[in-house]
Symmetry: C2
């Protein structure tokens, strides 16, 4: 919440507020014919392009806690989560619409902050804001973001194309956003009702992963440059285990991934240690990393192994073999959407 | 809420629930390449088509009250509200995505009801459900609907094209949905904590207008048949006054509408009388009618006057003349977004 200056939304009214927030927004993509201010945005696409549409609904108290989540960051993150879905289809995000439901606790300055974050994310990824709407809410804040993107005909990558022997790859590192969230929750409790400043020293990276995630555009660009066409792809919003299960289920395959190959940042490991959590569990099940998980034919091994910020973590096997993680000591554990169990325990 | 049978959502889990609700959904439009079950829907449009995108966010306690709003009707209405936005651009709705945020009070049967209504509306308007998502909510229900539609290149009708002397037309009748809402609210209070059945006799029409609105596809079709191209169009979701102000503001024009020309159903009039409300105020400011408000060149007067279920209620004038309603006794009153004042009172 903005505490410096507070202008009530009622001073502008609903229509005035939308106009105020969206003033100065220009359309940069040739596909965007007209945007905010009518019953619908008007777009036009080449028929050599496939059009991708993804919607996300984020709720206060479930998806974010405004006690420690600045509204500018929230706008940025909401946009990035939407872009990430389009990149996960091997597309490029082009347009975004946003609807906000607001309770009375919000003022105009809060909304300006949110839109600043949204606009920053859009500018960085070349996305036009083509629709904006606000309405009332009796409770907290609800944010609905729809992102539209394009991909040249025939280049869309879905979840269902993984083949046996394909390599399983992941960008960046995992579990950091979840650890950032745990840290924020801990400091929220520690500093409640007290004149104590939260202690974030040496933990900047995991905080940034939670508060300012980045959609992995450059990974998609690099794959294109290297002429690597993933056979299946998904973004990691719910955790590696869960996303890997989506790919395997929809591709009708199994998988083997290796504990020692899972990319983890040292700040993530230290934070897990501090909180007495198993870091691999955090990496497997922690959400909101917005990294890309994809499979490539084994013929691309050399190329993908040389890619910066991409790690090969395992391979696709026959469906009958199930989904498993191989631990450092060679034990095979069945992967579950949340956590895992040893195959003996089944 | 479903009171007969209650299966907790936890028995299926989030992914199981989506799969259950969207099973049996098939894609009928050639533009829909793939739908539910990936990071984004995949669509392809002809480059002779303009693509329309509209998003709506509906919140429990603000946009609907589940005490008297059955979930099947809510699904139907949410879809219709989205279709209405696309018709208001002179387009045809083709695809829909839906995101729901659910609190623990909802069971699987509730969601089935909601989807039944949604599917019924989609079937009636030839719309494919291409995305579905559910998440948690700490409070009430939030519904986000995105509708995508198309219109042949050059046929999109926006809000900003009204010219001086253009006729102002409205479909159907106004104020009925608002009167239906007032009735439901009255009976909710009257029957609370008592073993009393609500009394809806002779009020079926206004109830239906609130609980089962219809997007006016046939008006759009009729306009095309008659070769009438509106110069501006909008759907009446917030009330005639407010929508007329949008058209006039964006077209930089004024308007004159006539009290005696405003279409009102007799049930709306009787209900207003019963509740001691001015029926014209209700027709001007009552929302959720989902009728179409449009302007046509005066040369189309004969054709539009002969159209079934369309009424000419006034005409566009120069911006300097402002927006006014002419009462039955010839007094000119300034139109306001909510209500109106006599021009002398200004």
């Amino acid at each position: 919440m903005n505490t410096n200056k507070r202008t009530e939304i009622s001073t502008l009214g609903e229509f005035g507020l939308i106009k105020h927030l969206t003033s100065g927004i220009t359309l940069g993509n040739k596909e965007s014919l007209s945007g905010v201010g009518d019953d619908a945005a008007v777009l036009r696409f080449d028929n050599n392009e496939e059009v991708l549409v993804s919607t996300d609904l984020m709720m206060e108290g479930i998806n974010f806690d405004l006690t420690y989540f600045p509204l500018k960051h929230l706008g940025y993150k909401a946009a990035m989560a939407g872009f990430s879905d389009i990149y996960a289809m091997n597309g490029n995000p082009k347009q975004l619409t946003v609807s906000l439901a607001l309770s009375k606790k919000f003022c105009i300055e809060d909304l300006e902050d949110f839109y600043d974050g949204l606009k920053l994310a859009c500018a960085q990824h070349g996305v036009d804001i083509v629709g904006g709407d606000t309405s009332a809410s009796v409770t907290g804040l609800a944010i609905s973001i729809t992102v539209i993107g394009t991909a040249p005909k025939g280049t869309v990558v879905k979840r269902n194309g993984a083949k046996v022997t394909d390599l399983i790859c992941v960008s960046g590192n995992l579990g950091a956003a979840y650890m950032g969230l745990q840290l924020l929750e801990r400091e929220k409790i520690a500093t409640a009702d007290k004149d104590v400043q939260p202690d974030f020293a040496g933990k900047e990276y995991i905080l940034e992963r939670q508060l300012k995630p980045e959609a992995r555009k450059e990974i998609i660009e690099k794959l294109r440059e290297e002429n690597i066409m993933p056979s299946a792809m998904i973004d990691i919003s719910d955790g590696l285990s869960s996303e890997l299960m989506h790919i395997c289920k929809q591709s009708k395959r199994g998988c083997r991934i290796y504990e020692e190959r899972i990319p983890i940042d040292y700040q993530t490991a230290i934070m897990a240690e501090e909180l007495n959590l198993n870091v691999i569990t955090c990496a497997l099940n922690g959400g909101e990393d917005y990294e890309l998980l994809f499979t490539v034919p084994i013929a691309d091994h050399e190329k993908v192994a040389a890619m910066k910020d991409v790690r090969i973590i395992g391979h696709i096997v026959d469906e009958s073999m199930g989904l498993a993680l191989i631990t450092r000591d060679g034990v095979e554990m069945e992967l579950k959407a949340q956590g895992w169990v040893t195959t003996e325990e089944k």
